[in-house]
């Protein structure tokens, strides 16, 4: 039987490519309409093991109660920002350590593809060239950057611009 641990854990030594989204639309035969403009809802959390529990404003994020997030017992919301992302230039979102998260929409005809980079406040790159593909309202997380006795957890959700 395929080891699920092996399945879920991909080493950085080999640049991983995870093809997750076998399509719901394969039977429907036509590509979905793609919005000309795309926004992202960027949620920055601070995870620690200080016994404080999960911020009530994050109650809807049931993901925080399960692994890998459950290795921390305290989550606080530090910021929430909705920004437009375009193909022409990167959109920067400031991070608590004075670093920045850069987001850019990548040119894919039928799906939403996003590029993301994170540079720490010290100038050191933390995440380089992350490219993800998803649909509207999909959420993904980038976690692990050491910050103030814990780590930063950044949730990024693809949304329509309001």
């Amino acid at each position: 039987m395929i080891s699920r641990r092996r399945m879920l854990t991909l080493s950085s030594l080999a640049v991983p490519t995870v093809l997750l989204g076998a399509s719901q639309a394969f039977a429907q035969g036509k590509p979905p309409a793609v919005l000309p403009q795309l926004a992202t809802d960027v949620l920055v959390l601070h995870a620690t093991n200080r016994g404080g529990g999960i911020d009530p404003s994050l109650a809807q994020l049931r993901q925080l109660k399960d692994p890998p997030f459950s290795s921390y017992d305290t989550y606080k919301q530090l910021s929430r920002t909705k920004v437009l992302v375009s193909k022409d230039r990167a959109t920067n979102v400031g991070l608590p350590d004075q670093g920045k998260l850069s987001l850019k929409r990548l040119d894919v005809p039928t799906r939403y593809k996003l590029g993301a980079n994170i540079v720490k406040g010290s100038g050191e790159p933390f995440l380089a060239n992350l490219e993800v593909t998803g649909d509207l309202n999909d959420i993904f997380f980038v976690a692990g950057q050491v910050y103030d006795g814990g780590i930063l957890v950044i949730g990024i959700r693809l949304v329509a611009p309001s």
């Binding site: 080493s11 640049v15 093809l19 309409a33 380089a128 993800v132 309202n137 959700r157």
Partner: protein
């Protein structure tokens, strides 16, 4: 005999010895010249080591011990540096496995089939919601009849094997795993799980892991993708 350097000792013990005259040091960059151990020098080192082992070299014998001690300290320091991450990763993996116990094995294995399946095309955009909760999808609900059927098929196969092999079959061996039967079922529909797919990521010199966090079956949630990077504590 000149006391060998740590690099020379390492080259000697690794057997990286070059015959005299085989390499022209003048043609090598300066930093590479130190990494060449000629046969004549290796013979000197062998002689020096023999003296050191006999205790006749006095101070050089202490030098070998010191070299080994330094090496041991380096190994222990590196292990200690990695220990916190190992414990966190172990806790995470342990929690994942504990969660697996509560899930149907067939369902877990179907989820694990998601990785090698390439997306064919894209689903239509769902209605936009202000909620941060994961978007509900009917994946598991639609797979449930197949999973149940496959489970029954697996049970029937296990019974058939027991009948065929009788009591001679080894007791300790597990029956055929339902997951394999599910995987080989030709009529099983392709996994159409939704969620964000990571096309590429560069962790650089850091260690990184991509978690595919399963959604709640009762809520019919989609998979949540988590890119988890091991970060170093900032140096003071």
């Amino acid at each position: 005999v000149r006391t060998p350097t740590e690099l020379e000792l390492m080259l000697f013990h690794d057997g990286e010895i070059v015959e005299d005259g085989a390499v022209d040091l003048a043609t090598l960059p300066e930093e590479d010249r130190l990494a060449v151990l000629f046969r004549s020098r290796a013979d000197e080192i062998a002689h020096w080591l023999e003296r050191a082992e006999r205790g006749g070299a006095g101070e050089p014998a202490l030098g070998v011990a010191e070299s080994l001690a330094v090496l041991g300290d380096l190994v222990r320091a590196d292990a200690a540096r990695q220990a916190p991450f190992v414990s966190v990763a172990g806790a995470v993996m342990g929690a994942v496995e504990r969660r697996e116990v509560t899930e149907s094995p067939a369902l877990s294995s179907v989820s694990s089939l998601a990785a090698p399946v390439a997306p064919v095309s894209s689903p239509p955009p769902p209605p936009v919601s202000a909620s941060w909760a994961a978007r509900p999808t009917p994946v598991r609900a639609r797979l449930r009849p197949w999973i149940t059927g496959s489970g029954l098929l697996a049970a029937a196969a296990a019974c058939a094997l027991f009948v065929l092999h009788g009591p001679d079959a080894p007791i300790g061996e597990e029956p055929p795993v339902p997951a394999m039967l599910v995987a080989s079922a030709p009529s099983l529909p392709a996994y159409d799980g939704s969620g964000v797919a990571v096309d590429t990521v560069d962790f650089g010199a850091k260690m990184g892991t991509i978690f595919l966090q399963p959604g709640e079956a009762s809520l019919r949630d989609s998979v949540t993708t988590v890119v988890w990077i091991r970060d170093e504590e900032p140096r003071p």
